[in-house]
């Protein structure tokens, strides 16, 4: 099996350490940390326990605990926002709105999923809500964007740079589904449910995205 699409809906809990200065994901990095021989398992468990503790403290209104959670997860949330909306300033705003909404909804977090998964889903909904408010429904985006944005160039070496540029150049619907499915690991059913579209629409947008990307990236 190849590709993020095969990693399953909880795949976002894995984390590729892109930016050395970036903070790691929340629980998602625990497995990765555990595989690092230099860090003893007990220390890994302490990190996980600290984060569980931070979630519990945040749930009862501890702002410092919520800041701990923010520091540990903002790279994941901002990365998602930037890749999906392309505009760094808008990505910052959507990131902030995601955390503000998460704080307000924190009392409803029951721990059925990891906090990082729950937070990620909130961020996706914030982004999709922004698209909807801007009149950008996924099933109505077969053409070019009404408001083209200068593609964001990320500092990733090699072919990934070309792919980032190509993703940024996709129409909003195709880009959204590609990022959610092939980068973040959501299923078509999850995407359809979050975006309020048919599964077939999600599949069609993904196929379109992949075709466009291969065309752009082909030598």
């Amino acid at each position: 099996m190849i590709g993020a699409a095969n990693r399953g809906p909880a795949a976002e809990e894995e984390c590729h350490d892109f930016n050395p200065g970036a903070t790691p994901g929340i629980e998602g990095d625990v497995d990765a940390l555990a595989s690092t021989a230099a860090i003893p398992p007990r220390a890994v468990m302490m990190v996980a326990n600290d984060r569980d503790d931070a979630v519990e403290r945040a749930r009862i209104g501890d702002l410092e605990a919520f800041e701990e959670l923010y520091r540990a997860s903002v790279g994941r949330v901002y990365g998602l926002c930037l890749r999906m909306c392309r505009d760094p300033h808008l990505a910052e705003e959507l990131t902030q709105e995601s955390y503000i909404l998460a704080w307000r909804k924190l009392a409803t977090f029951r721990g059925d999923s990891r906090f990082s998964t729950w937070l990620h889903r909130i961020a996706v909904n914030v982004i999709l809500g922004h698209f909807r408010s801007a009149g950008r429904r996924l099933d109505a985006l077969s053409g070019e964007d009404a408001e083209p944005v200068e593609p964001v160039v990320l500092t990733v070496p090699g072919l990934a740079v070309d792919l980032e540029r190509a993703i940024a150049g996709l129409p909003t619907g195709a880009r959204t589904v590609f990022v959610l499915h092939d980068v973040e690991g959501y299923t078509h059913e999850e995407i359809a449910q979050m975006a309020g579209v048919a599964v077939g629409t999600s599949k069609a947008q993904l196929s379109r995205a992949r075709t466009l990307l291969r065309k752009v990236l082909s030598p």
Partner: protein, 223 residues
Amino acid sequence: MRCDEVRVLLDDYADGALAAGGAARVDDHLAGCPGCAAELEGLRRLLALAADLPREIAPSRDLWPTVAADIAGAPKVVHGWFSGSWRRGLAAAAAVVVAVGSLLIAYSLGRQHSGVRSALAPTASPLAVPASLGDPTFAVAEAELIDARDQLLAALDARRSSMSPDTQQVVDDSLQLIDEAIARISVALVDDPLNPKLANRLAGAYRTQIELLQRATALPAEI
């Protein structure tokens, strides 16, 4: 299966989403069709690249202060004038200032003689709008605006004994609203000191306050 039938199934095939029977038929076709096999290989290369993309990207600045300010109910510290929540908040504040200013004028006109109208007419701005906080003249211009405002505040205080309590309340409420707008813009400027729109807004808020004070101090005595 024909090539066109296989091609439409390749996405699901690569995703492992085809049923066993369908996948087996695609397998059979791929074994004897280099063209479709190459298509699948290209698709898999793309998916492998996508899977390896970094999933963390650090924002270029600390976004926490704005989040914390919103959560705590404090004035937001945001990046840039075009940040939506800030824009909405300040627009609302500006609307209130305008509304209260209009109320002040209407209230005063209703209580005073027609000669008051000239006193309430807008006055010329004492200073030009600076282009940016990064402009070295901005600090001087802001200091002059503050000085002009302080002089008018002193004049207003000297005239309070001739003003009715209602008028004083309306003036004070308006001044407070503008003070709050100035404070918010100042905070935003700390975060984005070179934003010319913020600088212009700050100068505009000072001018609005000065104009309000000029009108208030020019009102005929009520008591």
